[in-house]
Symmetry: D2
Subunit: 319 residues, 4 copies
């Protein structure tokens, strides 16, 4: 499996929900240093503009960290002007600003030695019936993506879908909607970041979603983490949906997909760097468990389609 | 609004879950007679082969009922040989039989005066991790649709998506996946039946889904009913998600969509025909409520994007 | 662990959902014979009146099978007269009939050598707002339980809770509501059947629910099976929520609970008896996996409360 | 209906999720002044210690606002030391501090002219299998409540239950568990705050939950707001589940419950005070809609149990 581990730099910083701050703020420098020390790490993903600076002020700091960059994460949701949306903001100026952010991040990505930006349009969508014009929202979303994709074809734009949060309904809630958007742009450099936890909280089977994205040559990036299907809790891979996590990994290998894995793992208890360390080891061990069973045996399960025999074998293999 | 009401003939027959039979079997003749008497009815949707007969033995009986046929519903899930799937059955012979069913139903549809068949692939998909080969399933699904669509271009095939039941994961779980499948067939006569209850139980906003399907010229048919987002309970339209039902109707009007509405409404208590009678009246009254507020006022809500003002007004309008 | 395996005789018979019959009808005699052959079986649970006969006509047949009876399952949901409820039916005659069923089943239980009846009030509750009088429903439910419990104190009545199906909201949807009902009866012989799948589909953590029921001396019976939290799919234990299933088993051991396990496992693909055979082996292997990690190690995890360390260790143990 | 409207002072302040700050910080003075200007307001609920000060430093400021206090909200989740829980913290010193907070707040409540404190134990519970000792957690929870309840019997402690957030599983997730806890304390001054949105996101029907709490004389407080059953979005009452909101109001009247209503309504778009203004008007109008239909007609619906007839009438009443 030709896959590398990236640290989403945000996962080492402040983590707070509406009621409690679980992890404190940490400087970019701290987070880069911490990342470098985690066993099995291959790279990092910094955030534009929060980590990088609006004009790339921190690019050199990141370059000096001597860790490959998997992608630049473009944050078009955090700042105040995005309150009513970024791609789908009713104000044209904000929509244009969103595209400018993407273009700038694409240029910076090249400076940072990567050919990918990732963007999660969490604030595009709606919360209520009768709140937005759905037809316009979709059109604006496609236009924004086109505007950015046309900027340069040597950098890929990877859209991270998610069903809800911050919006009750996000414009790109699942794999298929995101693939439709990609297709409608007409550009080959627009694709999908599949976050396994987002797939699960949206009711998808992540392996099936991954296979679909791959079949259309648009699976650009995979994020691992887990949750209980109710909310994107961002817990350790395999800590809830072990078999579906394993099946997803199995498909990565079966389809011979190569690229970066990253991990939206936020720990509320214990140290974030230790949580990432555990995450990387868990992924390695899940892979070893696949070997323990055997790729052929797993493939055979999908051909004989006998759940009782399959789970008898999967659980026996744990001993 | 240029929309007509169809009775899904199955809703007047036996209704049973795993534990209780709520409504008894009724003959086709009975169900046709009952349909004709329901106020505001414009047509019916019979099922192939259960209502119509494998070779169209009951076509004449249906024709004699003197009710327009909205579509022929092709059941590729009920019979024993579909246990492991229809479009996605690992056995090629069953996949071919599925296509044959569709073709036969398309021909019969023309005999019955309609240009549409509707098919809900409830038994295509999977229940467990490691149960099927997702890549093959998708490929088989597209191939089956192409095989049927090529049969004749004067009849439309409308795929009714649903997230789960009978399979834990159905191959066409939501609007976007179904639209992707339509696009991949390359045929214009393949489209979508949007069942509002399926949209809701799958976490979609039905109005947004409807607008997306319409924008791609693939929204062929709309079914109304409601549920509490946990399961496809098939209850009366507006009995749970009033505002989303209303918003869906509003989009039908705003987009000037025309065609058939049908109603997967199954009542566990009381008479099924009375439930459909109530359903048609509810739809008429929801429409009247839109007029009471005004299309322009509703459009304005989607432009100002102020939920507090919007719901203050929507609820005041109920008085 | 002093626990025995029972076969719910229904799991070997017909299994059908709204759209497909997955398993055919099988006679009681067949199902008893099949049960006796499943390795690791210790007993069976027959259904009153469907298996046993209204007046116990089949008691002898069951006795002759030479398998201990874990409990008599009292079905107060299947027959036509229970359409509007059993315990909570607005018609007093039906409520009385419900109590009579329970009393008769309690007497038959003794004849069959067990001191327990189990009852799952699936048809008691409601589907819609404004459909029932909630205060009356609760009162009737308690009265019915009291009426039955007073019949004889040497037989325990175990209420199997479930959040929904057949009703959208069942009167006893979770562990705590059921415990409240038990307490309000004032009888010690009223307790709870915890079905792990029902706990999961209702959003509970089954181990926490089990510990609560046990602390009040009202945990009478445990059913194992699994699902994806959306619906009671009745799949193999550990086939989805492996860690929660394991934690539940761990609590059974830690709390030194003893009694019968039964298994609502319904397979849609493959033979039901093989599915139960696999189920029993899976349970044995999950137990062995607990030993592989060690009870002390698991206890320590609950004391240190460090998820990253815990899941690192749990997953490493699979190799 | 003898019910008064309280402003939860937090709803006028900062509102931020993990990705965006939707509403800015506002001082207590500002929020008190704003509250006083909202039409139909009868009182406020300040938070201990964040609004009030650890030693009641702001009591006078609140008294001067000349608005009755519905209850003192005791926050035992926000501060750093509560990271591993408050009532259920493994560290005895933190558990004791939790009780001290409650006792202090009870005394301050009397100073502020109310006889109630409300507490929502959001950080008590767990996120993962094998993370906590469920038996100990429950015992600690009961002990903490007893310790506080014994402090003075002239002040009521109202526990606000919620299924999840901040913990994936909260110790008091639903009405029945909370009632069980109340009963186990043995104190009459321990009861329940029912937040309608929490009931809905936990799968409860709020009217049934309310009726159960009332029947045990433990329904102390009701919060209104709404959501789509997936997450506690805290949107306007009736903006999603109109009929269940209406049914809850109907039960308040039918059961002749009297007390305070408060409103966890957080608006992401538009002004918070306007959202509360709209909320109070919505509640008044929902009440008027009940009158439009008639209490007797609604009661009759619960007796005839015919959903088709009921929803036909409810929706017709909107015209």
């Amino acid at each position: 499996m030709n896959v590398k581990n990236s640290v989403l730099l945000g996962t080492l910083g402040r983590y707070s929900d509406r009621f409690h701050e679980f992890q404190p703020f940490k400087s970019l420098e701290d987070r880069l240093k911490t990342s470098a020390k985690i066993p099995r790490v291959h790279g990092v993903e910094p955030v534009y503009p929060q980590d990088i600076g609006h004009s790339g002020e921190q690019v050199e700091l990141i370059q000096n960290a001597d860790l490959p960059v998997s992608a630049v994460n473009v944050n078009v949701k955090g700042e105040a002007e995005f309150k009513y949306g970024s791609f789908t903001n009713p104000d044209q100026a904000v929509r244009e600003k969103t595209v400018t952010y993407l273009k700038t991040a694409m240029d910076i990505a090249v400076d940072l030695g990567t050919n990918m930006v990732s963007v999660c349009p969490l604030i595009d969508g709606f919360d209520h019936a009768f709140q937005v014009d759905h037809s316009k929202q979709w059109q604006w979303f496609i236009e924004g993506l086109k505007g950015a994709a046309a900027h340069r074809d040597d950098v890929r734009i990877s859209i991270e879908y998610k069903p809800f949060e911050s919006r009750n309904h996000i414009i790109a809630p699942n794999m298929s909607t995101t693939l439709l958007a990609c297709e409608q742009t007409g550009f080959k450099n627009v694709g999908v970041t599949m976050d396994v936890g987002h797939a699960i909280s949206g009711g998808e089977n992540p392996a099936a979603a991954l296979a679909l994205g791959h079949s259309m040559n648009r699976l650009f990036y995979v994020h691992f983490n887990d949750n209980d299907r109710r909310w994107d809790w961002d817990t350790l891979p395999g800590s809830v949906n072990l078999w579906e996590t394993l099946e997803t990994l199995y498909y990565v290998r079966k389809l011979n997909w190569s690229g970066w894995f990253a991990y939206d793992v936020f720990t509320r208890h214990g140290d974030p760097a230790e949580a990432l360390d555990a995450t990387f080891e868990i992924m390695e061990n899940l892979n070893a468990f696949i070997d323990k069973i055997g790729m052929d045996t797993l493939q055979e399960m999908t051909e004989t389609q006998q759940p009782a025999a399959a789970y008898r074998e999967l659980i026996k293999a744990m001993l």
